[in-house]
């Protein structure tokens, strides 16, 4: 893993077409501006993790529950 230090207003490049700039620093939180092609998916990590967890929850089931479920 690469760890680098950036100051406010500085940025970094990932490959040729992804650019991340530190816009604002504020007591424990950092605001980033990201420039990337539309084909790159950018998500808050916890949102992806929530979907991972929910998919895992959705696998473990008792099928009998929906057999008795009618609209």
């Amino acid at each position: 893993m690469l760890v680098i230090t950036r100051k406010k207003g500085e940025g970094l490049m990932i490959g040729q077409d992804i650019e991340i700039t530190v816009v604002k620093l504020d007591d424990g939180s950092v605001k980033l501006a990201i420039n990337a092609p539309k084909s790159v998916t950018i998500l808050r990590k916890e949102l992806y993790q929530e979907v991972q967890a929910e998919n895992k929850n959705a696998v473990e089931y008792n099928i009998d529950i929906i057999k008795g479920l009618k609209k």
Binding site: R44, E54, N55, K56, A58, V59, I66, K67, L69
Partner: protein, 165 residues
């Protein structure tokens, strides 16, 4: 041996040859043995969040209740997701299919698109939820699929299946 050309319409330079109508079987954990053919396989090239290593699935209705379908991995018999059409839950469910997704799934017309959402079961019916935040988009003609994550507060990961009146 009968052979048919698939992907004849696609941009592939060379046609893909497969055995026509060759039946395969999978014995699932909850739904008995299912037969399927090569053309029934839906490929999730990115996998599904939480199951990134599983790429190939089939879709079939739950026998006793066909409002629900099962998205079953053919690489892991224990991995089957119960799914439902989001329009059964929210009539005006909507999200944008981005151009790059349309390209990745090789979508040419709206009729090819099937959207389903996972259902998390619970022994208490009122606790059964549908993940409206992460629709699964399938191109039923091309057999390709991807689970999206919508960055919107409009839809919840745990939307109740049954709305209280």
């Amino acid at each position: 041996m009968e052979v048919e050309v698939l992907n004849g319409m696609s941009t592939l330079r060379y046609p893909v040859f497969r055995l026509k109508g060759e039946k395969m079987k999978i014995t699932t954990r909850f739904h008995g043995t299912k037969e399927y053919e090569e053309k029934d396989i839906i490929t999730f090239s990115k996998g599904i969040p939480g199951f990134e290593n599983l790429k190939k699935f089939i879709l079939f209705p739950v026998e006793e209740n066909e409002v629900f379908n099962v998205l079953q991995s053919i690489e892991d018999v224990d991995m089957g997701l119960i799914v439902i059409s989001p329009f059964e839950i929210v009539k005006d469910y909507e999200f944008k299919l981005e151009d790059n997704l349309i390209e990745r799934l090789n979508i040419r017309e709206p009729q090819q698109v099937l959207v389903v959402n996972t259902v998390t079961l619970n022994s208490k019916v009122e606790n059964i939820t549908v993940n409206l935040k992460a629709p699964i988009v399938i191109n039923i003609k091309e057999g390709s699929g991807e689970q999206l994550i919508l960055d919107t507060a409009k839809y919840s990961i745990k939307h109740p299946l049954i709305q209280e009146e």
